[in-house]
């Protein structure tokens, strides 16, 4: 190579400019600092918060029971929602028009009616069908059971929350699957992978990158949506708090107890989401692992030479 090397002149004349001032930022900091101080002050001095009551109930048995139910309902409903959503999305994208139509009708119905109505419907299913049985369609019934004992309030909660969630998850999963380039499944097919293998090994792992963030949203939303089960007489975190303050009238402190737990759970979920996102970001992340970065640093001069 002849001529001046461009790379070496770069640092001979470093830019020495007066940095741009940002007076607006300082004003904003001042205003926010005052507001924050006021907030902390009032939270600590206002007797109405009753932090002693908050502390007394934070780990009390009824609250912890409610918390356990919230967690259980959230986890199980999301499992039903995700599994059902993947199934519906695959149906929706299948070449079979019957499956596509069935999935579309399901999504239309479950997204188009209020969740509270769905919860109540499952709870009062026995009014429509007092007994459910297994048998030949229009023919004899072999076994049957009383719907009231089959669909407990807990089961009605899961049906209501889970089946509703599946409709929303279906659209999220469909968006994820469609975001993967068609060439990926073609390449998998050309290698001899079946459609299911291509979906499981090639398309879904890439779709996950797109599916995870809204699914995290859905999970966090579900955490709080579970409080709707109060309409069918079931209880969870918020209901437990309500039951307590309806007898001792410490409304604000008990709402703070519930809110604190929701915040804690949401924080844990956000961290978990970050981990999962990193797992499925494999090969996409602009920031390679430390090892890979070292590798690049060592290789670059060689490539430039």
């Amino acid at each position: 190579m002849t001529g001046p090397a461009v790379g070496t002149t770069k640092h001979e004349h470093p830019i020495e400019a007066v940095p741009l001032r940002h007076p607006g930022r300082w004003v904003a900091v001042a205003v926010l600092a005052v507001l924050a101080a006021m907030l902390v002050h009032t939270v600590l001095t206002n007797e109405g918060f009753r932090w002693d009551v908050v502390g007394r109930y934070l780990f009390s048995t009824p609250i912890l029971n409610g918390l356990a139910n919230t967690l259980l309902l959230t986890v199980l409903s999301m499992v039903i929602g995700v599994v059902g959503g993947i199934g519906l999305a695959v149906m929706r994208l299948s070449p079979n028009p019957v499956l596509t139509g069935a999935a579309a009708v399901y999504i239309w119905l479950f997204r188009g009616t209020p969740l509270i109505a769905q919860l109540l419907f499952w709870n009062y299913l026995s009014a429509l069908y007092p007994r459910l049985g297994l048998g030949i369609p229009f023919g004899p019934v072999f076994v049957s059971a009383d719907v009231n004992s089959l669909i407990t309030p807990f089961a009605a909660c899961l049906l209501g929350l889970g089946l509703n969630e599946a409709a929303y998850m279906a659209e999220i999963v469909r968006g994820g699957l469609q975001s993967v380039d068609r060439g990926q499944s073609e390449a998998a097919g050309a290698l001899g992978l079946s459609r299911v293998q291509a979906l499981r090994r090639v398309v879904l792992p890439q779709a996950m990158r797109v599916i995870i963030p809204p699914t995290g949203n859905e999970t966090i939303s579900m955490l709080k949506t579970t409080s709707l089960v109060v309409v069918i007489g079931y209880f969870e975190l918020l209901t437990s708090a309500q039951r307590i303050y309806s007898t001792n009238f410490q409304t604000i402190p008990l709402l703070i107890v519930a809110a604190a737990w929701y915040l804690a759970l949401t924080s844990v979920l956000s961290v978990g989401q970050g981990f999962i996102e990193r797992k499925y970001g494999r090969g996409f992340n602009p920031t390679p692992s430390a090892g890979a970065r070292m590798f690049f640093l060592r290789r670059n001069p060689e490539q430039a030479a």
Binding site: A190, L191, S194, R282
Partner: protein, 254 residues
Amino acid sequence: MTEPMVEALDIYKSFGSVEVLRGINLTVMPGEVACVIGPSGSGKSTFLRCVNHLETIDAGRMRVEGDLIGYRESGGKLYELRESEVAHQRRDIGMVFQRFNLFPHMTAAENVMEAPRTVRRESKTKARERAVALLERVGLVEKCDSYPAQLSGGQQQRVAIARALAMEPKLMLFDEPTSALDPELVGEVLDVMRGLARDGMTMIVVTHEMGFAREVGDTLVFMDEGRIVEAGNPRDVLTNPREERTKAFLSKVL
């Protein structure tokens, strides 16, 4: 007489009202390298995709090693093959795409290992061993654990060739393998393909690389408007085209 590797008989294919292939007849013998050239929209990529049933044909017969692709014929009737049977047929046909289509969430070695592991249920150690050997063959053994996003276009395409070779195909289809590459990266991919041809691989190559076609190809096929206009020895077709349309095309690209 040896059986042809690929035998295309009067292949027709339409996308909606657009007729893309209008009666393609082509025979490729084992060990032969057939290069397909032609203007864009002439149907050459579509034809290639019909060979491994990525596209279904509307009329005609496509045979690879004598077996009908995508269908079974018995009693004068055609039966569509089940998806698993089509997948089975495709194991013996490797394909390399214009846009590489590497699996971005897998390293180079994992890309090569994928089909042997998933389709042939090979053990991880055995698949890895062969993947490393194949990557060595395409000159990328030091990139085994790099992700596609960390590789140049030429390197990605070479990994894609290694991935296709992992299933030990009898036939390789190349769909404009160098068209998406920066000019200075074309050579390394063509070198790998040249090596394959030397080793006796049967290849159908849709390409714009006339030099490669002349040097490596046994047959040159010129397609236009869904038909094969002219086919023959690459040197003859390139230097002495018989058809006016071939002449017109070559005068633009050479």
